[in-house]
């Protein structure tokens, strides 16, 4: 028994060490840093609540917080909605072969740097870009799409949409086909089976896909900076700005901890919702 434990531990040890060194350690340090002070552009170890008081009492921090939360939520809703028809097609209407190819093709965007993919939107969204040129032909526009919230959302979706489609496809493909047939056999129209059977059956996977989308959007710096014009700033931009202005790493740590707490709460709530067991009486 003890030998078996030693064997199992040997295999688990690397990941445990990795997590302690590169996740738990930095996290604890970041929390500690949020209580440090900065004097003469130098960070001094301390345990003061000044940073927290300052940051939490500033209106612009909260404006940024709600903006980031709102944009990430909007991105999650849009990604989930537009991914679903594609995932539905791949899971139920396509051949196994087509599904394999589609998932492979959906992975390809990740081969290219996200930054490169973001910059390529300039060509499409700019005042003199592809879209305005096209709709200009029918007398519309030009519309400003870069440096707007619309641009930010486009950037978020560039990052998250392929992943959401893949996760949704996998979870929909695992839905028991017998349940769908059983529902139809009991008078449920094919359209209605989506709401009555397919979504409840694939609930966990759909929620986890949405959760990934939220986490990636919420923490993304590139889209709001390059496509959203960085004003008003989202939290990741606020972190950069804070560190740049007067070496305020501790205040930036406060924002980072706020983000971590938010993500922990939302991830925990999502997982609980995804795997919630109905109460049996």
């Amino acid at each position: 028994m003890s030998r078996l434990n030693a064997y199992a531990l040997t295999w688990r040890l690397p990941i445990i060490i990795w997590q302690i060194l590169f996740f738990l350690g930095p996290l604890l340090f970041m929390i500690a840093m949020s209580f440090f002070l900065v004097k003469n552009y130098r960070m001094i170890e301390a345990f003061e609540f000044k940073n927290w008081e300052k940051m939490l009492s500033r209106g612009y921090v909260w404006d940024s917080y709600w903006l980031t939360l709102g944009l990430a939520a909007l991105s999650t809703a849009i990604a989930s909605l537009i991914a679903f028809p594609a995932a539905f097609f791949l899971a139920f209407k396509s051949s196994e072969n087509l599904r394999r190819w589609a998932i492979f093709l959906l992975i390809i965007p990740f081969f290219t740097s996200y930054l490169v993919r973001t910059f390529s939107w300039y060509v499409i969204l700019a005042e003199s870009g592809v879209i305005n040129a096209l709709i200009g032909n029918i007398g519309l526009g030009p519309y400003t799409m870069l440096n707007t919230k619309f641009g930010t959302i486009i950037g978020y979706l560039t990052l998250t949409l392929p992943l959401v489609v893949i996760l949704q496809t996998v979870s929909l493909a695992n839905v028991d086909k017998n349940l769908i047939q059983a529902a139809q056999n009991l008078g449920c129209s094919p359209w209605r089976t989506i709401r009555a059977v397919i979504i409840p059956s694939a609930k966990a996977g759909l929620i986890i896909a949405a959760l990934f989308c939220f986490i990636l959007s919420f923490g993304d710096f590139v889209a709001p900076y390059y496509l959203g014009g960085s004003k008003p700033p989202t939290l990741p931009i606020l972190i950069i700005d804070t560190t740049k202005s007067g070496q305020q790493w501790p205040r930036a740590a406060v924002v980072a901890v706020m983000m971590m707490v938010t993500l922990f709460t939302i991830a925990f709530a999502s997982i609980m919702l995804a795997y919630r067991k109905r109460v049996s009486k």
């Binding site: 017998n178 047939q181 059983a182 056999n185 009991l186 008078g187 094919p190 059977v197 009486k281």
Partner: protein, 360 residues
Amino acid sequence: MTESLVVLDRVVKRFGTFTAVREANLTIDQGEFIAIMGPSGCGKTTTLRMLAGLEEPTEGEIRIGGKRMNTVPPHERDTPMVWQSLALFPFLNARENVEFGLKMRGVDAPTRKRRALDWLERLEIGQFAERNIETLSGGQKQRVALARSLITEPQLLLLDEPLSALDAHLVIRMQSVLTRLQRELGITFVYVTHSQSEAFAMADRVVIMAQGEIAQVGKPRDIYRAPANRFVAEFVGRNNILSGKIAGANAGFVRVETPVGTLNVQAEGTAPVTGTEASFVVAADMVHIDRTPDGAENAVQASLISEEFIGSVVTLFLEAPDGTEFKVQLQERALAALEPRTGDVFHLSWKAEDAHLLPA
């Protein structure tokens, strides 16, 4: 005259180059309990799925209540099915599962709930109404599945090997539940199974399928006593099948020359031509076994190889000197009097009218 509830008219179902069902003709009357039986891949489940609209016939026509159903989608039919896998919705509790069909028909929530509880009560699982599906036992799930299919009070209920996942003693209980419900409700059951005991115990008529064809349709007793062909005789089991040459005929009987002697066999209709090959069956429980010859017309000597007990019924396996095997079924009480030991030689005999000639 009104048409039967269900009519299959020369129904063919092909999947690519594979023919699952070929030229099936069958009529099922209102209130009948029909069992479709056959080995795996015989087309019995495909036939049932065509009735539910889950498969579309390639050729021929299916009519239910006089209406052509070939292209009617499943959700526009009233042909609920009890699935082999049960296919209960794991995200709904027992009562909500039962309510599902009513919900789809737009019945209001209080009525749905009342009727679902009535059905669960009727199937003796009322106390589990609010339970999660995965917390129920196999037998309880089975009852939920039944209630779910019956709540819309359909004319026709389809059952796809519903008892195959249950323990033997539960199967017997569920059989009585099913037959009682079927009688009380007066609805038509089409029951697909590979189990002969289930089919013969419950059904008014049994349909035997083999390789996509309907081999025989009849009352269980008729199929057992007078199988239509060699496949049915072998599939039904506990039959002795003997082959030989026709040696002569008189007054509804033929004499067949077999390796174990010349035997008299009943021949309905035109007697086969003398000299042709012929096979016949004698049901195992129609064979009389004794230590001494009883002077009956069809007598064979054979030695005991083994015996098999199923409850109070015993099957003896014997072998004639030429190697022909015989099965004899008798009550345990009768066996005790016989005191059989392996290797003992017995005299077997049967009446000519209990032997049935198989079509060539």
